[in-house]
Point group: C2
Chain length 320, copies 2
Amino acid sequence: MSDLDQLKDALLAGKYRALGRAISLVERDDPEADRLLAAVYPSTGRARIIGITGSPGAGKSTLVAALAKHYRKADRRVGIVAVDPTSPFTGGAILGDRVRMGELYTDRGVFIRSMATRGFLGGVAKATNDVVDLLDAAGFDVILVETVGVGQDEVEIVRTVQTNIVVLVPGMGDDIQAIKAGIMEIGDAFAVNKADRPGADKTVTEVMTMMSLVEEHGDWIPPVVKTIAAQDRGIEELDAAIVQHFDYLSSSGELDRRNRERVRIRVETHLKEMFLQRVLGGAVAKADYEQLLEDVLRKRNNPHDAAESVLARVKFPVSS
Amino acid sequence: MSDLDQLKDALLAGKYRALGRAISLVERDDPEADRLLAAVYPSTGRARIIGITGSPGAGKSTLVAALAKHYRKADRRVGIVAVDPTSPFTGGAILGDRVRMGELYTDRGVFIRSMATRGFLGGVAKATNDVVDLLDAAGFDVILVETVGVGQDEVEIVRTVQTNIVVLVPGMGDDIQAIKAGIMEIGDAFAVNKADRPGADKTVTEVMTMMSLVEEHGDWIPPVVKTIAAQDRGIEELDAAIVQHFDYLSSSGELDRRNRERVRIRVETHLKEMFLQRVLGGAVAKADYEQLLEDVLRKRNNPHDAAESVLARVKFPVSS
């Protein structure tokens, strides 16, 4: 039995060490990672994948922790993937928060992984998707993906979750309102967190008004739930909204559409990265390629035509 | 003379309508855009490209406006590209800020363009680079690129500017400190803005301490400048830091290295996108491709192997 087969079996059996090793392969963009992901792919598709998106300071991590505890009470295994560099889960953060997350770290039914937002060779979105697949294959029932939601990569991550919760907080001022404007359309449900602060009801009303202006949700009107994540309040209501959204996804055919979109993004990401690897890995001689870049740098050529000239050396089939 | 030649000539002559039309082509990812960009590329490389990065609320836009006014006094033409969805320049923002920006909007030596952070077919980073090239070719002396700095796409934008200024603000609490931790290493200079607030000196000291721990800046130690952008204070000092950094870039060979990296990123972005266009545009029959995606969706195949099977139909040259 090869090492990879052993790793695969251990992963599918839900072993934590195997999962950790597999994620490390993904993070290093190791060629083994792709083989492993291909091997476990048929075992994916069972997990509920939930995005938690919002500005720094909205309490996303606390909400993620509260949801995780909620799911643990029902004995569901929970994976947490934090893509937000400001998240307590990423480690670069505040001691108080880390203490609050403490009980999750010692719970064997919870697996927490933070993704840095730079330095991934294949991109953060691809790496995040891959880690979600690994958790899914390892038998995690719920996967919570925490992101800031700003930036194209983040938007791509949000497009690949099943239900995205946008976390807002009352009275954070105009700047935050402006962020909200940027992420409103990606919410399948809204949590107005820290709802014991003044202005919570006003924020709820504002969101509902905004939602009435957004038409791209189809038949689904995103519910707005008040939460106080630090006190585990409103979490059951939020979970009810998530369940309701999943029922909508399933019954409307939207789940299939989202899954199809997810597949399309992933295949095309692979296509682009694999193509580039082939080109840089020898299909064009390194010296030729460096000369090509030099010519662009010296304005003897331009980026588009340089790429065209590489592409001209590749033979495409003519489809019938 | 073709339409494209006319557009090119008008653009190189610095005509605003031509610039607007050209940017629209880029935003629509129109094939004409690539031809135009290729044609004007030899005329690029003269502008100073400066990134302004920081959290929402740090006063980035106000600082951009203050810098723009500073450069206008020296009669330099200024292009502003706002990639931040929360920026007043993007229009989705606060009336007060827009009023403050008013004088820039009526100044013929200033061109302001906001880039949405989603919906760009070829990616925000590519579109931003393209717009910067167009402004450069149109004779703008200074191009200010405003970003939040979080997310991979944004980091890619930051990697392609010459000097990146990270804007901080005193006493914004732990959450903002955490963001800072995420963006510290991308600062070539720091502006502690709203420096009349309590704690400004403490923030300056903190940044300097952090900088002493970061070693990837080479021989350059990023200066920290106190500014009050809303009162145009500290702007000359900030510009002095920018000039100093550019001198360092030029004399150390770092400028060449950054330009080379910029060229590499752009050629590879083109390569990947053009390859995908070729594949989706007929190199693989549409029905075949949809069937491929369907197989992945139904777990009969996986994303990696599906991409591999497309790639297998493409013939790569064997380099000698």
